[in-house]
Symmetry: C2
Subunit: 197 residues, 2 copies
Amino acid sequence: METLERKQRSREQTRSGIVLTAKDIARREGWQAVSIRKIADAIDYSAPIVYEYFDSKDILLDEIRNEGFHHLRLEYERIKKVYRDPEKRLFEMSIVQWQFAMAQPEIYEVMYNLNGAYCVLPVRDSVEVEAISTIIREIIFTFIPKSQESIQKLYFEWWSLSHGMITLAMMLRERQPLEQSEQVYRDSIRRFVRGLR
Amino acid sequence: METLERKQRSREQTRSGIVLTAKDIARREGWQAVSIRKIADAIDYSAPIVYEYFDSKDILLDEIRNEGFHHLRLEYERIKKVYRDPEKRLFEMSIVQWQFAMAQPEIYEVMYNLNGAYCVLPVRDSVEVEAISTIIREIIFTFIPKSQESIQKLYFEWWSLSHGMITLAMMLRERQPLEQSEQVYRDSIRRFVRGLR
DNA sequence: AACGGCGACTTAACACTGTTAACTTGACGT
DNA sequence: ACGTCAAGTTAACAGTGTTAAGTCGCCGTT
């Protein structure tokens, strides 16, 4: 049975090798350059092997995307433990979102189907997105206990503000330095959070 | 020389036929389904003919994108003539942007490289985008004559808010009705505009 | 009237893409 | 030594962007 375990482990390794390679190509050449054959070459296999781990390219992209949302969710939960003040919590979570997008733009791109990354599977029915949604809405609720509908609106506002600034900052980064965009981001988020009470 | 004029006109017609067909396929099947051969088939030509009008698919997409920005710019200039109050102007321009994105989502997608639309050519060095930027910044300036840098920041804020809400509203439209998103959009824009004075 | 050239257009090709069926190859148990 | 089975490969299909080469008919010249 050792052999089986060894086989299992190697399966896990090649699987994560596929994911790692996909992200690596995306980071260096953009998502449009990510192809099954290129991934297979990089992990020293032929293309059909990739299909033994992911039924389609779409499912591979979906996994990477969910990995991204999962990472974000863990960060949010960490912040929730560290800080008690809801204002501080929401602010720190916003900052984490910015930092994540700047540190791993290719992941952020696949999460939102940006710049050549295209995943047909809808984002909406993902447990990770749902979990993130719940965390943020709970925080908003803790310091404005309004109706569910109002909370949803405020969540939508927060998400839009953050996502809009992140995508435009990336798009305009040649013309407007990222540090300046980040400053505006921090100010805007702070103002939004203040406005909640 | 009539023949030449006639040829010219027919050239213009096939050219716009290409653009029209590309947008039509994008609207119905998404940008990922737009291919040169499919366009050529639709206008009853073979694929290489398309290359006599557009040197590459990228340049075709760039033209459609600029067409979108141009349309938006004309709308902004129209609004500028109709209203004198800067608050009203900025609000109406925001509404136009929303309506444009909802009426022609495929154009909005190619303008921002969204959902499978991917154009390598950078958006930034487009005269249309520059013109729009100038219009909005001028309006912001007319009722807060601050430094160029502050104006740029406020412009970035406005653009982010609008773009973020539009993209997320489209993304979440199955889960959150567009009418509700539009209401939040209007409220947020109104609040932003009010906050300017 | 025959010929040359030219412009409009098509076919064929190249190197890719995602995806699947069919095949090879080598190790293991009987 | 033989059959089985899993791991992995090759080959193929239909499609992509893009370009070179070829066809075909018209028009002016000799």
